[in-house]
Structures are given as structure tokens and as C-alpha cells.
């Protein structure tokens, strides 16, 4: 009996699908322009786009270049444009895509393309550094005591603590595509996380930085960032809260 149970979910019983991926490739040493290339892979409904990329790299074309690390939606390495929308390859299930048509995969937009699905993230991290994304607290606490915070105070910035810096939001923003100087949603999200933290004392500096012409006022509320965020962060709402804090002059 136990053997019968163990045998039940044999691999044959699970239906697999033939999926076509069309990937935008670019090798700076060979190509003058990016080009589209298609691959056929055998996939299960529960596989993810990242698994398809692995199958291609391991079995078909080892030159396919992409970034990934955790493969579980926490390191933020594999944001890419899947069927025209920014997604994490490791969080996009095959069953959630229409596989009767090919799946288009390309690098995120607005950052310099380096190779295949890899872009230069430096400009992205530069704007992050500019907003000083760390706790600024110079006042002394009573010896042996901690900086306490109420549940309500913590809740104010809870949403923006979840960011994994994948750049899906920033590279989905039409303003950022045309104006690379714009801080971009991700930097504002990470500024929000400290601006609204009751223990932090650097809000004034950050609000001042984001009051720049390339700061929050560049936001045109297209909501692409909120749609793209794999962590479900209400990015546009966070930007709006920072806008209002700037107008109030305090968080």
C-alpha cells in the first residue's frame, strides 16, 4: 500500500508544455544592436520563467546571460521585462502566462544594457545612496535603553520596509526612461522608510533632497511602479506621502 501511494504522482502523470521564449539578446562584443532569439523549452505549469532561462542556459545555449541569486524572490537580482511588464523571473509562474503565445523576455528599460538580460545597476544604486538610506539618530538614548517605537509608529512605514531593491519599479517608470536623472521610485521608497520612522532624525535632510527638481515632483502618477513591484509595495502611495510631507515641512 505505501508503495502505491508513493507511486501516484509519477512525473508522466504531470502534464508538461512546450513553451516558446523569445529573448532579447545582446552581446556587446558581437552585436551592434540587440536581437531577438527564440527558444523552445519543455515546462511544467508550476515552473517559473527563471527555470526556463536555466534550461536554456544549461541545455541549449550557455552564452545566455542573466542575473539571479536566491531564486525565491528575496535578493532582487532577476527583475526583467516579461511579456512587456517588469517582473521577477523567479516569481513568474508559467501557468500565469498565456503559453499559447511566445513569452517575450527582455532586460529592464532605462538603465544601460550590458549583456542579454543584464543592465548596469550603478545609476540605480547611486540615486539610492543619495537619499541616505540608513538610520540617522544622533541623540543619546538613556544608558541601557533602546529607541522605542509604538506599533502605530511602526505601521506608518511598514510597507516600504519590504523593498528588495530589484529596480522593477524604477525601470517601469516612463519618466525615468526619458530622464535618467530622476531619483526614481525605488530611491523614494527607501527614503520613505526612514522619513516616516519615528526614531530617525534625518527626515529634514531627506525631504530636502527629494524636494529637488529631479525628486518627487517628477512623479506623474502613472502607477507603473505600483503594478510592477514584486513585493506589492504601494509605491505611488509612498511617493504621494513624501510629496505631502514636503509640503507640510515635516513627516
Amino acid at each position: 500500500m505505501p508503495t502505491a501511494i508513493a507511486e501516484a504522482p509519477t512525473p508522466e502523470a504531470i502534464q508538461s508544455f512546450n513553451v516558446t521564449l523569445i529573448i532579447r539578446r545582446f552581446d556587446p562584443e558581437v552585436d551592434a544592436e540587440p536581437r531577438w532569439q527564440d527558444f523552445d523549452v519543455e515546462m511544467y505549469a508550476t515552473d517559473r520563467v527563471l527555470d526556463a532561462l536555466h534550461k536554456i542556459k544549461w541545455d541549449q545555449d550557455g552564452s545566455l546571460t542573466f542575473r539571479r541569486s536566491c531564486a525565491h524572490g528575496i535578493c532582487g537580482s532577476d527583475a526583467m521585462r516579461i511579456n512587456g511588464r517588469n517582473r521577477l523571473a523567479c516569481k513568474t509562474l508559467i501557468k500565469d502566462l498565456d503559453i499559447s503565445k511566445p513569452i517575450y523576455v527582455e532586460a529592464i528599460k532605462g538603465l544601460p544594457l550590458e549583456k542579454d538580460l543584464i543592465v548596469d545597476m550603478e545609476p540605480f544604486f547611486d540615486s539610492l545612496k543619495d537619499v541616505q538610506p540608513f538610520l540617522i539618530a544622533n541623540s543619546k538614548v538613556e544608558k541601557g535603553k533602546e529607541r522605542t517605537q509604538s506599533v502605530a509608529e511602526r505601521a506608518r512605514f511598514d510597507d516600504t520596509t519590504k523593498c528588495i531593491l530589484c529596480a522593477a519599479c524604477t525601470s517601469s517608470c516612463p519618466v525615468f526612461w526619458t530622464d535618467g536623472q530622476y531619483f526614481g521610485p525605488a530611491a523614494i521608497v527607501n527614503a520613505h522608510r526612514f522619513i516616516f520612522d519615528s526614531r530617525d532624525e534625518g527626515s529634514e535632510v531627506r525631504l530636502d533632497i527629494l524636494n529637488d527638481k529631479e525628486g518627487v515632483w517628477r512623479c506623474r502618477t502613472t502607477f507603473n511602479c505600483s503594478e510592477a513591484c514584486p513585493r506589492g509595495i504601494q509605491v505611488t502611495t509612498a511617493i504621494k506621502e513624501v510629496k505631502q510631507a514636503i509640503m507640510r515641512g515635516k513627516p
Binding site: 552581446d27 545555449d61 550557455g62 552564452s63 521585462r81 512587456g84 504621494k240
Partner: protein, 146 residues
């Protein structure tokens, strides 16, 4: 980083060995944004259109200071069916820009504005159509009916 091994692999394996290379365009796909993005695209287009109208409008109105005859001649030249259609387009552009402008203000200033942005977008579209349904027939009657 283009490392050595990847390079070597690319050389030994014919790149693009799959024959079906229908897609030649090197450009990326169009970003598939949703209501928010399209509302912004329309806002931009109508905004730029209104800007050019205002530019021409200020120029022709300033003719009045030069000579009323010249002004009358220019304004008279506007009374053609093509300009009539253009006027309909102008009302459509201003209508959308105004309605969506209110939506953008609400998104930024109403506490739950960001939550209801999609609903507000469709409301804008409905109100816009109602506006045009009221305006277009009457206006076109004036233009073509004489």
C-alpha cells in the same frame, strides 16, 4: 560581465541556431502599463495639443492690435469644415485634460486617491464621452448644416 567562458561558448555554438527569427526589430516591446500609464499618455498628448492651440490662438488674437481687418480675414479663414473638425478635437482634448487633471489632483491630495485611481480613470472616460456626446452633434450641425 562578459567573462571568458561565455565568450568561448558563444563561438562554439552557432548563435541563433533556431531558424525562426521572425522578429527582426531590435527595439524592445512596448511597455504594457495599465490605466495609470495610458491616462498619463493621453494627458501628455492632449496637453501638447492644447499648448499648440494656445500658441496659435495668442498669435491670431494679437493681430487685432495690428489691424482689425487682418484679424477678421484670419478668423474668417477658420470657418471651414476642416477647422470645424479641429474645433471638435480641441474640445475633446481640453475636456480630457481638465477631467483627468482633477483625477491627478485627487490622486495626490485625497487620502485614498491612489487606491481609487483606476475607478477614477474610468469615471473620467465616461464623463468625457458624455461631454462629447452632448457637444459633437450640435457642433457638427453648425459646421456642416450651415
Amino acid at each position: 560581465m562578459p567573462d571568458k567562458s561565455a565568450e568561448a561558448l558563444a563561438e562554439t555554438q552557432p548563435v541563433g541556431k533556431s531558424p525562426r527569427n521572425k522578429l527582426k526589430a531590435p527595439a524592445g516591446t512596448l511597455y504594457r502599463g495599465r490605466e495609470g500609464m495610458w491616462s498619463w499618455v493621453l494627458h501628455r498628448i492632449t496637453g501638447v495639443a492644447i499648448f499648440f492651440f494656445l500658441l496659435v490662438h495668442i498669435l491670431d488674437t494679437s493681430l487685432l492690435r495690428l489691424s482689425p481687418e487682418a484679424y477678421n480675414a484670419v478668423i474668417g479663414a477658420y470657418k471651414t469644415p476642416i477647422m470645424g473638425i479641429g474645433e471638435l478635437g480641441l474640445v475633446a482634448a481640453i475636456g480630457y485634460h481638465a477631467l483627468n487633471g482633477v483625477r491627478v489632483i485627487l490622486v495626490d491630495f485625497w487620502s485614498v486617491g491612489t487606491k481609487h485611481q483606476k475607478l477614477m480613470f474610468w469615471l473620467v472616460i465616461i464623463l468625457w464621452f458624455v461631454l462629447l456626446l452632448g457637444f459633437a452633434p450640435r457642433h457638427l450641425m453648425n459646421v456642416f448644416g450651415g
